[in-house]
Subunit: 244 residues, 2 copies
DNA sequence: TCGGCGCATTAACCTAGGTTAACGCCTCTC
DNA sequence: GAGAGGCGTTAACCTAGGTTAATGCGCCGA
């Protein structure tokens, strides 16, 4: 609802990627600036929808800061899972745009987020003039496909315990810090409810697992803060790395 | 092991796609012919590997006829699932090629198959000269990604029963025929063991499910032949279509 | 200030599917 | 013709996780 300019924020989401190594970095500074010019950045409040499942794809959403989750629900609306998280720097809506499909999941703001929107027509135009960008997208789509296979495999193969360890390792890379005594402290940016949905289980089962993990001394859970004694031990004992 | 020419088969896998609507159809007849010229077609026997998990990707494999399955196993080698099937007309190895990764799954010949191999360098060369082909691949990769999400969702959400119904509907489209009395007859091209692996459960559980389905009168199972009384009823009752 | 709502937790209970083991059957090989 | 090995099935048993229900807590809005 709130435009970024109102907050004195400069809309330079894409130009800033010039220095980094995202897919967009293959574009020239000028091309990126041109995207920024037409991008519309807004601040979205927690709990609101960025887009809904089944809705036609109108463009892409660059998450500048905050946190957004992509949900999927069955036709009856029940059994919602959290398919993926979009952290700052991530882009939403690119898949349906490239596939020329509707959104297969709905995006919900999990933490107040600044999100920049760029319409389909702009992106298509950019792509038409930049085979290099298309090439990069193809490569990362192919990799994402491999990751999705891996996720499927994991869901069939691994226990909730193991999958939780996997999720924690994502947050470790992302928002983990080391305490004075050398142990790892995680301030989870998600409710346990959402973490359950991310793993695809009920909150009650999640609760059960974290209590057991706590009892066994692997980690201490207090609210959304997790104190991990020995992270490598946890991941190693509970489920070996599936970094392939 | 056996070259196609030895059998008097003409190597025209790719040229033939000119008339059809696959991704390759965007190429000119000449370009397709040029691929055929360097393609190596061989007949692979049941049980042999086309490529193995973790192996670097040397090129793509066009399945001309027969049936190939892509397996995934965990580091210890156990708990093998069947991730996808390659029917005649399908191509294997394109994902790792585009992602510039190694094979994340191993391909095993399930029915004696004629498979045409084209090396990485040829494909890369073709792609470099055809943005149109790259565009088509990007689109289908994006769609495949959506399908993989769906598969994940289904594995988390749906029962074995439902997932079996889903698999049967694949074979219905593929190798189903209608009996004189109007009922549907499927001659499954896979062992039940492999169908279990496709769904991600043990053969024993599979057995349990088909017996129940038989008892309840939905279908009759005899060896690898399935007689389905009322297919739409089965799919409708057991799990609504997830055609989104 | 109070009521209500959504998160989190616990406990009791239930069930789908994994595990183990045994058996029949087929095919291939020696 | 005998053995071996793979498939398919059944049965008995076990466990992870879903289901239901109850309780406490914190937050928000009236």
């Amino acid at each position: 609802m709130v435009r970024c300019e109102d907050q004195g924020l400069k809309d330079d989401c894409f130009v800033r990627q010039y220095r980094q190594t995202t897919e967009w970095s293959v574009l020239s500074k000028d091309e990126l600036r041109r995207i920024d010019e037409v991008a519309v950045c807004r601040i979205h409040k927690v709990g609101t929808d960025v887009f809904r499942e089944g809705e036609p794809c109108r463009g892409i959403y660059y998450v500048r800061n905050g946190l957004v989750g992509v949900r999927k629900s069955d036709p009856e609306g029940n059994s919602v899972i959290l398919w993926r998280l979009a952290f700052p720097g991530n882009t939403l809506g690119l898949r349906p745009l490239l596939a020329e499909e509707s959104h297969r999941g709905g995006a919900e703001v999990l933490e107040t987020s600044t999100i920049c929107f760029v319409s389909v027509s702009v992106i298509r135009d950019v792509l038409k003039n930049s085979p290099a960008l298309e090439h990069r997208f193809l490569q990362s789509a192919a990799r994402a496909l491999g990751d999705a296979e891996e996720a499927y495999f994991e869901s069939v193969t691994q226990s909730v315990r193991t999958r939780l360890a996997h999720v924690l390792s994502i947050f470790k890379d992302h928002s983990g810090r080391t305490a004075d005594d050398g142990s790892l402290v995680l301030d989870l940016p998600l409710t346990w409810r959402n973490i359950s949905a991310l793993i695809g289980v009920r909150p009650e089962s999640m609760s059960r697992v974290i209590r057991k993990l706590d009892d066994e001394g692997w980690a201490h859970f207090s609210g959304r803060t997790v104190y991990v004694r020995d992270f490598d031990g946890l991941v190693g004992e509970i489920g070996p790395d599936r970094v392939v």
